[in-house]
Symmetry: C2
Subunit: 380 residues, 2 copies
C-alpha cells in the first residue's frame, strides 16, 4: 500500500472528527474513494442520501479544521496512515471483519492518532495484550503484574486499554522495568481518561505510545470503548484476559481477537470469584487457552517451535526412575519392623529371587536396611 | 457375554488373590482360557515359562482359598463378574487399552469385589467421578462439596477413591443428602484405608458401594492405586479433577478417562495455588473442559442435547436492549447539567432530528429529563 500524500492525510484527520471511530462505512468509503474526495462531497452537499452521510455533512459544515490541528500539535500528536513506515499492517486484518453481520462492528481504520516516543510498527512486532476487569481483585492485579513484567522482560510490548484495575496493573508493571507499553484509548489521545490514571497515561506516553482512532478532544463513550477494543486485539499477537466478570469489556476484546485469529488466553481464578467468572466462560469456548504464566503466553503467540515454555511436571522423585519391580519391593517393605525377603516377595507379587536382588540394589541405594531378621525401609 | 458359572466365579476369586490387581496378562488369560483352566495349570505346575507365571504358581501353592472365602463372607462381600446382571459393561471398555504401549497399564477386570447395599450397574448408569488432591485446601473442599452435592441432587452417583481431601469431601457431601456414592479402593474392601477415613468408608458401604479388584486382605500400594484409578475412570461417564498438584494421582485418573474417551473436566483455581497447578496443566490439554459447577459437569457428560447448562451471561441491563442510536444518545447526555438536543446530536454523531426523537423515547422510559434549557440524564 503506497503512503498517503499530505492532502489525503489531512483529509483523513478531518474525517476522523466527523465520523464515529471505527464506522465501517466510513472506513470503506475512505479506502475506496479517498478522504479528499469524500470530504469534498460532504462539504459541497452532494452525495447525501443515507442518514449517516447526512450526519457527517452536518458535522462537516461546522468542523473546525484548524482547531483540530492545533489540538493535535499541542500534545505533539501525529497521524499515522496505512502505507506509512510506522503503520502496523496487522491492523488491515480488520478489513476481513467489516462485512460480517452484527452491530457494533468496526472497520479497518484509515488512520490512527498516536502520541509518544515509541513507533507503532516497531512496538507491535512482538506484542501481547493484557486486559481485564476494572473492578479487579488483588489476586488479579498480582497476576497481571507478573504476566506483564515477565512478558516485557522477554521483549514483548504489553498493550492494554489504560483503564483502572487489570489494565493499569499491566501498564505499571512494564513501566517499572522501563520497558515500553502501549495504551489504546477510546477517546482522544489528549484526553487522559480516566482522570485517576492521568499520571499513568503520561508515563505511558513518555516511554511508549498512546493510540486512538478518535480525534483530539473526543470524549470516550460506551460504544467507542467497544470499537476501541478491536484495535487492542488487532495490534497484538494475542490477548490475555486476566480477570473479567461475565459482562466485562475485556471479553469483547477477546471476541475480537478470536474473530481475527489471534491467540486468546485466559488466566483462571477461583470459581467462587465473580471477577473470574467471565474468564472461565471464555476458557470454555473452543480456540481459547488457559495460561498460568508469561512463558505459556509467549509460547502460545510465538511461531511454532519458538518461545517454547518448559513443560510443568513437578519434582521428579528418585522412585519414579526405578523399575516397576523395585517400586513394588519398596511398596512391600515395612518401615516399622523387619520382614523376611520371602514375605516381601509375596506381598510384592514377585519371585523370591527377584525380590532379593531388588532388595540388594535398594540397600546399595540406601533405601532399605538389612537386619538379622530381615529387611525394613531406611529411616526417612 | 454369558454369566460365569459357579466354579469359574470361584476360580476368579482365587485368581484375584494370586495376581496383581489389573495385571493385563492375567486379565487376557482369564478371558481367553477361563480362570478354572488357568488355575488348574498353575496348581499342576504346568504352563510355567514366564517369570510372571512362576510368581503366580508360587502364590497358588500357598493360597488359602477357604480363608479368602471366609474373609469375604465376614464383610458380606460379593464377587461380580462380566456377564452378571450387576456387572457394568462399561468396564469392558478397558479391553481396548490393554495392548497400548507403556507400563502400569491395567486390563479389563475379570471380576470385582463389591460390598454394600448398592448395585454396581444401577449405581453407575449415571455416574461422575470427583477426584483430587489428598492435600486439598478449604477452597478445593468447598468446590468438591458443592459439585458432589449438586450432582447427586440431579441423580448422578458420585464415584471417588475414598482418600483424604477432595475424595472425602465429595463422598461426605453426597452422604449428607442421603444419596449413594461409590468408593473404589486400591486394597481389599475389608481394608478400610486410610484408617482415618474408616468411619466414612463404613457410611459409604451402608448407603452405596465399596468396590475393589483386589481380594479381601490385600493392602494398598502405590502401583495398586494407579491401576485402581482406571476403574474410577471406567465406571463413570466423566471425571472431574477438583484440586491436584502437578504430580497428583488424580491426574492419572484423568489420563485413564481421556484414554477411555470419557469426559475429562477440571475445576480451576488461583494460578498461585500449588494444589491447582496440576488441574491447570490438565486443562491445557486438548479434549479437556474447564467446569465451574455441577450443571456444567452434567451438561458435558450427558448425551448431546440433554442436561444442558444455562449459558452464564450475567445480568442483562436495560441498556443492552436499546438500539445503537438510543445508546449513543444516552452516552452523549450529561447527568450534571442540561444541554440542547443539537449538542447531544453532535456528540452522539447523529442528526439532530434523530437525537430529538431518541430523547423523547428515553424520556418516556424515565431515563432522561427535559429542562427548560435542554436535556440531562435522570438521577440514578
Amino acid at each position: 500500500m503506497p503512503a498517503v500524500d499530505r492532502p489525503e492525510r489531512r483529509a483523513r484527520m478531518v474525517m476522523s472528527s466527523l465520523v464515529e471511530p471505527g464506522d465501517s462505512d466510513a472506513c470503506r468509503l475512505v479506502r475506496e474513494h479517498t478522504a479528499v474526495e469524500l470530504l469534498r462531497k460532504l462539504r459541497s452537499g452532494t452525495g447525501a442520501g443515507s442518514s449517516k452521510v447526512a450526519r457527517w455533512m452536518q458535522r462537516a459544515a461546522i468542523a473546525d479544521e484548524d482547531g483540530l490541528m492545533h489540538a493535535a500539535d499541542d500534545v505533539s500528536a501525529r497521524y499515522v496512515c496505512p502505507g506509512d513506515d510506522e503503520w502496523q499492517p496487522a491492523l488491515d486484518d480488520l478489513e476481513r471483519l467489516e462485512s460480517q453481520p452484527g452491530e457494533r462492528r468496526g472497520g479497518a481504520p484509515f488512520g490512527l492518532w498516536v502520541r509518544g516516543g515509541g513507533r507503532l510498527v516497531a512496538m507491535t512486532g512482538r506484542c501481547v495484550a493484557v486486559v481485564g476487569s476494572r473492578g479487579s481483585t488483588p489476586y488479579g492485579e498480582h497476576v497481571a503484574t507478573e504476566l506483564a513484567f515477565e512478558s516485557a522482560g522477554r521483549g514483548f510490548t504489553v498493550a492494554s486499554g489504560g483503564a483502572f484495575g487489570i489494565d493499569a496493573a499491566a501498564h505499571r508493571a512494564v513501566l517499572s522495568r522501563d520497558s515500553p507499553t502501549l495504551a489504546v484509548l477510546a477517546g482522544g489521545i489528549d484526553n487522559l481518561y480516566p482522570v485517576g490514571n492521568a499520571k499513568l497515561l503520561e508515563s505511558i506516553c513518555a516511554a511508549g505510545l498512546l493510540v486512538s482512532e478518535a480525534p483530539p478532544g473526543c470524549v470516550p463513550s460506551r460504544s467507542r470503548f467497544l470499537v476501541r477494543n478491536r484495535l487492542i486485539a488487532a495490534l497484538s499477537q494475542g490477548t490475555v484476559v486476566v480477570e473479567a466478570a461475565l459482562r466485562s469489556g475485556a471479553l469483547n476484546t477477546a471476541r475480537w481477537a478470536l474473530d481475527l485469529g489471534r491467540g486468546v488466553m485466559g488466566v483462571p481464578g477461583p470459581v467462587t470469584s465473580r471477577t473470574s467468572a467471565g474468564v472461565h466462560e471464555l476458557l470454555r469456548q473452543p480456540g481459547t487457552l488457559l495460561v498460568t504464566d508469561a512463558l505459556e503466553v509467549i509460547e502460545h503467540i510465538s511461531p511454532v517451535g519458538e518461545g517454547l515454555a518448559p513443560r510443568k511436571s513437578g519434582r521428579v522423585r528418585e522412585m519414579d526412575l526405578f523399575a516397576e519391580a523395585s517400586r513394588q519391593v519398596l511398596d512391600a517393605t515395612p518401615r516399622d519392623r523387619a520382614v523376611a525377603a520371602e514375605s516381601i516377595a509375596l506381598v510384592a507379587g514377585l519371585e523370591a529371587e527377584e525380590a532379593r536382588s531388588q532388595l540388594l540394589l535398594l540397600q546399595a541405594a540406601g533405601l532399605v536396611v538389612r537386619f538379622s531378621d530381615g529387611w525394613a525401609l531406611a529411616p526417612p
